[in-house]
């Protein structure tokens, strides 16, 4: 028969015995390994240690392997803290789309830790960073999100930032956002896609 039986416990015994040696110094050294699987293991173990957060965030910026990045971000999500948010926020301005999107997704898992930073995120002088901040809010499970997005729609000077916020705001679909949407259309009278998007959103909220 082609089927053979092997116990899971036996598979574990087949692993190299040095595999489970622990220790922070070893993990830090392993983070520089040329072998991505060793870096993954080191990143996973280091992510259990709160004082390793700055090091892991710094490593993220240089890490080329998507699988190592991914396990660092997962570890940071699991051990979310104000320090993690502080370490991830600079990546909203990264030119590396994978890293930036990974940071956005990770921040969306930390509503309470992100909340104190929202106002400053939305006040960044770079409109691209403000768009990515709105992207964070779009899936942030926090009761203040509609209000934050409303303020962007009402006051942000950049049309693309407003469009991103309008998009996210409409999903919640409260009729009381309609005056803000009308005001947005008035603020950008010559921008056809805003006029179209606002009309469509209002129609949708009213159920028309």
């Amino acid at each position: 028969m082609a089927l053979v039986r092997r116990a899971a416990a036996q598979i574990a015994e087949d692993q190299p015995s040095g595999d489970l040696v622990d220790g922070q110094e070893r993990w830090v050294a392993d983070l520089a390994s040329a072998d991505a699987s060793i870096r993954r293991r080191a990143a996973h173990d280091l992510s259990q240690m709160p004082d390793a957060v700055p090091m892991l965030c710094a490593h993220l910026a240089n890490e080329r392997s998507l699988s190592v990045r991914s396990i660092i971000l997962t570890g940071l999500i699991v051990n979310k803290s104000p320090a993690v948010v502080t370490g991830l926020l600079p990546f909203l301005g990264s030119e590396d789309a994978n890293l930036r999107n990974g940071a956005i997704e990770a921040l969306q898992h930390m509503p309470d830790e992100v909340a104190p930073h929202v106002v400053s995120m939305l006040a960044d002088e770079d409109s691209d960073v403000r768009i990515f901040a709105v992207n964070v809010l779009a899936a942030l499970p926090h009761p203040m999100v509609p209000e934050w997005l409303l303020q962007v729609v009402l006051h942000d000077p950049h049309v693309n930032v407003c469009a991103a916020a309008q998009d996210a705001l409409v999903e919640a679909g409260e009729p009381d956002v309609i005056p803000a949407l009308e005001a947005l259309a008035d603020r950008f009278p010559g921008v056809a896609f805003i006029q179209f998007a606002v009309d469509a959103a209002i129609r949708r909220i009213r159920g028309g």
Partner: protein, 287 residues
């Protein structure tokens, strides 16, 4: 509450527009899509949850689901919307993908005589791992040329004991032909069916939790993971952690098969989608 009772006059009303918005949101979060035929099914369950939470309007309820930090209500809703049933040859298009695409690909790359390792997790009462064994023996022409290990795990010791016993009612066997039943099962006096000893003894059953790192470290060099209809019940964080742990369990170029309503793209970008037969499966890169 009986979910089959018709909507009462006092039930909250969900407008078409609200339902459409909900469907978009639910699809984005879970990959589960409700077409118009499923509208009543979904509405019924939403209104049940609204009653339980005391929400008078859908708008209030949707805000709770959408913005609640714990995600607890979202999980309640997912549990309501998914149906947990298992039987032999369930979602057999994935079994076809296994023998038509995945196993030939693995075999073509295998020149070291090592076994092909398949892991069914969660294995529930055993229908899935036994289905894998039967389907491979019946449908993969090269089955005799390779050693194939099938591992099966579940968190529930009672269900695992039932899996190891391998005794099933007629309902579980409804997708099997009489010929397969005759060759792989023995009918018991109580009209149940016992799986053959050869098949039963070829599978290693183990109890454990996929979010326990110690448990997951037992599994290495796994070529194919069948992880169907489990992650849908996890929160985002646990889902992500589990997929990361499974990545480490797998051989480079190994595959994960998820349930029909689950999509890896909503969990992780680590894996590459591959299409075999009528099935999308996910392959670990050769990093």
């Amino acid at each position: 509450m009986d979910t089959n009772t018709p909507l009462a006059q006092t039930d909250p009303v969900i407008s078409d527009e609200e339902f459409s918005r909900f469907c978009e949101f639910f699809y984005r979060k879970t990959g589960i899509l409700f077409d118009t035929q499923k509208k009543y099914f979904a509405e019924r369950r939403i209104t049940d949850r609204m009653h339980k939470l005391g929400c008078a309007t859908f708008r209030n309820y949707f805000a709770a689901v959408r913005f609640e930090a714990s995600g607890e209500e979202m999980q309640h809703l997912v549990n309501q919307m998914t149906v947990n049933e298992t039987y032999f040859f369930r979602e057999d298009y994935q079994l076809k993908a296994l023998v038509d695409g995945i196993l030939p690909d693995l075999a073509a790359r295998r020149n070291n005589g090592k076994p092909i390792r398949i892991w069914s997790v969660p294995c529930s009462s055993g229908e899935e791992p036994y289905s894998l064994a039967i389907y491979i023996l019946e449908n993969w022409a090269d089955a005799d040329r390779h050693d194939i290990e099938i591992l099966a795990s579940d968190i529930d010791s009672a269900i695992l004991a039932a899996a190891a016993a391998g005794v099933y009612g007629e309902r579980s066997l409804q997708r099997l032909s009489p010929d397969l039943i005759r060759r792989y099962f023995t009918k018991q006096r109580d009209r149940s069916y016992r799986i053959s000893n050869d098949i039963r003894d070829s599978i290693d059953f183990s109890r454990g939790n996929v979010v326990d790192p110690q448990f997951m470290r037992q599994f290495r060099a796994v070529d194919v993971i069948f992880c169907r209809n489990m992650l849908i019940y996890f929160d985002d964080q646990s889902r992500r952690e589990t997929i990361e742990a499974m990545y480490d369990c797998m051989s480079p170029g190994g595959y994960i098969c998820l349930g029909h309503s689950e999509s890896m793209s909503r969990i992780s970008s680590l894996f590459r989608p591959r299409k075999y037969a009528d099935s999308i499966v996910y392959q670990k890169p050769f990093e």
